[in-house]
Symmetry: C2
Subunit: 269 residues, 2 copies
């Protein structure tokens, strides 16, 4: 393993590099159960949150930041395997405008519904579908900041480990409890745990700013294009509306999540 | 003008196409005072809001949607010049994953500070700087939905007519009063109009959820990286904080704008 650290990978057909590239596709991530993070800030937060780092990759000629170099040393010292990439290969992996030359492969962490402990005043977020990965990442970041206990994904396809989502989540993936389940499983979990289901919809009956929730509660967010399905709207105990002015009929799904999550969250203190 | 409508532009060095391409750069937009919108939804809203359309461009072989075709006919009937582009040239102009084949050139609309009428309970948004054009566009969309009377840009560089900003604003640019001014001009405008200046900062003293504003009011938003300048923080009457939980020390600037604007807006009704 320590020899591997010193080998510089320069060919894109090198199997270790192919493994990294495979994690840029949904099928590669699904097959391996892993994902990529990239940049100093993300790697630092992964260490801080004790996220399961499986491989470190650096581009030595790109990584000039002293703090970044320190992070790389620290990860290597904890016996995590590491590889070194040529700047060209590194840039092909990076979404950053100015790549920092450090990244890592992490193990995806999923929780089963049965593992979620629903405390008396806890707030949860259930997402039916979100169109853009960047938006999903911003929602995950917002959810952490609002003190959400866990995020439940109610569709089969949204992929929190997609690079643009990981990037926008700003490290919130490392600490967030993520669960994927069917709508039916979710609603029966909510019933069993005594959670109030709070939906959000342009046709909601209650102005969110006058709403006071019962606890525990779960906020339901739908995709920007079609909103929540009838199945979830019917299952909800309350259906909130963010009143719109001007010619607007909708706001960005991440902004709507923020408005509602912080409003709910502020009622708990 | 009517002959022009039927000419299909296929060469990228055609001067009419070069004019369109020039509007993709900041310098080209600054020089001409124009900008580009693209896609059926944006064109429809521009017509609805009577935005100053100066040129229609379509790619006839891409524009298959009947509503889109109807919009194109309607614009031509109002004597607006139009050009037709080959699909290849059209795609070079479009940010859309699935281009719809219709777009327009509009005249930028800026308002002078002296033109802004400050009604007794009006809410304004002042933006010091926002790093990403997509984020700025989402903020403009959010501001319209929250019933903001106008947006003041306090830096010299942020460009609301940048294509990614225009796209994310979802047509809010057409109805929004946009002003660019210096910080000093802004603060004396606020003083003259009796507006309360409400700043937002991670080190703010007041939890936003317990804050009740005096009116009229202007919310101040800084860039995600460095926040508001000391000059604006000092000028503010109140300095609000959105309480963060988890390991988060910040949220996305557009999400923060949404949380604060809707909270302020809901106090006015």
């Amino acid at each position: 393993m320590h020899e591997g650290k010193d080998q510089l990978i320069v060919h894109q057909h090198d199997p270790r590099y192919s493994l990294l590239r495979s994690l840029q596709s949904a099928s590669g991530r699904l097959r391996s159960g892993k994902y990529i993070i990239e940049g100093i800030r993300h790697v630092a937060r992964a260490i801080e949150q004790r996220a399961p780092i499986e491989l470190l990759f650096v581009a030595p000629s790109v990584l000039s930041n002293p703090f970044g170099k320190k992070l790389a040393r620290r990860i290597r010292q904890s016996q995590v395997p590491s590889i070194r990439l040529s700047p060209q290969l590194y840039r092909q992996l990076s979404l950053a405008a100015e790549p920092q030359g450090i990244g890592a492969v992490l193990r995806q962490q999923w929780f089963a519904l049965s593992e979620l402990k629903v405390a008396r005043n806890s707030l949860w977020l259930a997402i039916e579908s979100v169109d853009q990965p960047g938006n999903l990442g911003t929602i995950l970041r917002t959810a952490e900041a609002a003190g959400v206990s866990g995020v439940l994904l109610l569709d089969a396809i949204s992929d929190p480990w997609e690079p643009a989502c990981v990037r926008a989540s700003m490290g919130s993936l490392f600490s967030q409890k993520l669960t994927r389940c069917e709508i039916m499983e979710f609603t029966s979990w909510a019933r069993r745990s005594g959670s109030t289901l709070v939906a959000s919809s342009p046709r909601g009956l209650v102005d969110y700013s006058s709403f006071r929730s019962r606890w525990p509660a779960a906020l339901l967010i739908g995709g920007e294009r079609y909103g929540l399905s009838d199945q979830l709207l019917d299952a909800a105990d309350f259906n909130l509306r963010i009143p719109m002015r001007g010619g607007c009929d909708s706001i960005n799904a991440a902004v709507a999540s923020g408005v509602l999550l912080f409003s709910l969250s502020s009622q708990r203190s």
